[in-house]
């Protein structure tokens, strides 16, 4: 089989899973009306498949900041920070992240994906070990592969399994990096951080926590799981993204370790890519300010999350273990999930379809991402529609 035939085979497998040309992946969105509504085809739909957790995509402060930055600095930086230099906005955003996390330093990356790629591949290398949760995001896996370190998985959210695998490493423990996530993107469950920190301290390892889905969502000021658990100072490196609660694109790493700054000189995903555009940096800075004082947004978000989670649970859906902004209905077969996804779209609700092998344990998911801007009426309509479809989909 040649290279192109391999792609043909993959396309045939995808077509078999998604018959009739169903375009569940990469749905064309024609117009976006607000943080919660858009047009797909001729339908005005409720957006329940975005990670716009605080609902800030149309925040006037962010839009104005982006406009001003374009007027002052143009549309793009046209190169990497290493070669072309750092704009004042890049440096300011790094100071603001360091301040937000009460850390000595921060690095901004061009995407959240690159934040994990760049941080992991900068911290570990061949001969070192990464111990990662089995349900880790692809950016973590890819960062580990890029690093050349040995990759060992532990069972998802199972600290005792993690400790068992750590203990086996023997003298290699001192060059082991443990990686976990604040909220896991598939089922929306949270890492058992207290236990993970206890074990990493006992064995003397370094811990990296990815707060991509928990930034803005957990903790009084929205720092994430580190704030909710009071363990900010116990986590060595925190990564995250701008593309969820901060409504732009980019990523970051913060740490109290002075060695963080050295990543700028060894991390290819930081060095060999164009830096974030002025508009992106400006809107992110404005969003970070809103996030920090956004306890009212977090309250709205959690009211919506708990309402929808309770309604789906009451209906009988199998859900992830923790209520939160990611609410995944777990279905037994891809056919059920596809039927559910299509039926929801026919009822003007757009969610995410997750099929094997992307979903854990071979399951299929219909994943909702709730945000603070959803109205109680929208949430109720979504819950009622899920209830109406339950007997159809599960029969």
């Amino acid at each position: 089989m040649n290279l192109l035939e391999k792609l043909d085979a993959a396309a045939a497998a995808r077509k078999a899973m998604l018959p009739n040309g169903v375009g569940a992946f990469g749905v064309p969105i024609e117009e976006v009306y607000s943080a919660t509504e858009a047009r797909i085809g001729d339908r005005r739909v409720i957006l329940l498949g975005t990670n716009n957790y605080l609902g800030l995509t149309f925040a006037p402060e962010c839009i104005r900041a982006a406009h001003d930055a374009i007027d002052k600095e143009g549309t793009g930086t046209t190169g990497s920070r290493m070669a072309n230099g750092s704009y004042s906005g890049h440096r300011a955003l790094e100071r603001e992240f360091a301040d937000f996390y009460q850390c000595s330093s921060a690095i901004v990356f061009t995407t959240g994906y690159q934040a994990n790629l760049g941080t992991i591949s900068g911290l570990v290398g061949p001969g070192d070990t990464v111990l990662i949760d089995g349900d880790s995001h692809a950016s973590i896996y890819d960062g580990c592969i890029l690093s050349g370190a040995d990759i060992i998985r532990f069972k998802h959210n199972d600290p005792s399994d993690m400790e068992k695998r750590l203990r086996r490493l023997g003298s290699r423990i001192e060059t082991t990096l443990i990686i976990a996530e604040g909220i896991y993107s598939m089922l929306g469950d949270q890492a058992p951080l207290t236990e993970i920190v206890r074990i990493k301290n006992q064995y003397g390892c370094i811990l990296l926590l990815d707060e991509a889905h928990s930034l803005g969502v957990l903790g009084e000021t929205g720092q994430g799981l580190v704030e909710k658990t009071g363990l900010l100072k116990e986590v060595d490196f925190i990564t995250g993204t701008f593309s969820k609660s901060l409504c732009s694109i980019g990523g970051f790493c913060v740490s109290d370790h002075p060695q963080l700054d050295q990543l700028r000189y060894v991390s290819h995903p930081y060095i060999f890519t164009a830096s974030p555009s002025p508009a992106t940096i400006a809107s992110t800075r404005a969003a970070l300010e809103l996030l920090r004082k956004g306890s009212h947004l977090r309250k709205q978000l959690w009211d919506n999350c708990t309402q929808l989670y309770a309604q789906l649970q009451e209906t009988g859906y199998e859900l992830g273990p923790d209520p939160g902004p990611v609410i995944a209905a777990i279905l037994d077969t891809p056919q059920q999930a596809l039927l559910m996804w299509n039926s929801l779209l026919e009822h003007n609700i757009y969610v995410n379809l997750i099929l094997p092998p992307a979903a854990p344990e071979g399951k299929s998911l219909v994943r909702c991402s709730v945000n603070a801007a959803h109205t109680p009426e929208q949430i109720k309509y979504v819950g009622d529609t899920f209830a109406k479809l339950y007997p159809v989909v599960t029969s």
């Binding site: 089995g134 050349g148 040995d150 990759i151 060992i152 998985r153 086996r168 092998p357």
Partner: protein
């Protein structure tokens, strides 16, 4: 071949037979993907089981060159008995 190696090979063949249920008789030369249709998720679960059974750490990046049961047995044997 050593007793230890044979033990690993036997365990892998038994486990793969019960996991895959394809009717294919699993031998040392059986290809994990083309003959047993072991996908990446199943392979990673199997690796965790093997790690626990033999009390070893098997880096998943070491699996890139593994296609047959024999190659998997070689890898487990090498990690278990040459790294101690």
């Amino acid at each position: 071949m050593s007793e230890n190696y044979n033990e690993i090979m036997q365990l892998l063949c038994d486990r793969l037979s019960s996991m895959t249920n394809t009717g294919v008789q699993v031998t040392a030369e059986t290809n994990l993907i083309s003959q047993l249709s072991i996908d990446s998720i199943k392979l990673l679960s199997l690796i965790m089981e093997i790690e626990d059974t033999f009390d070893v750490s098997i880096p998943i990046n070491a699996l890139a060159d593994v296609q047959t049961v024999r190659q998997l047995a070689d890898l487990v044997h090498k990690i278990k008995y040459t790294s101690e």
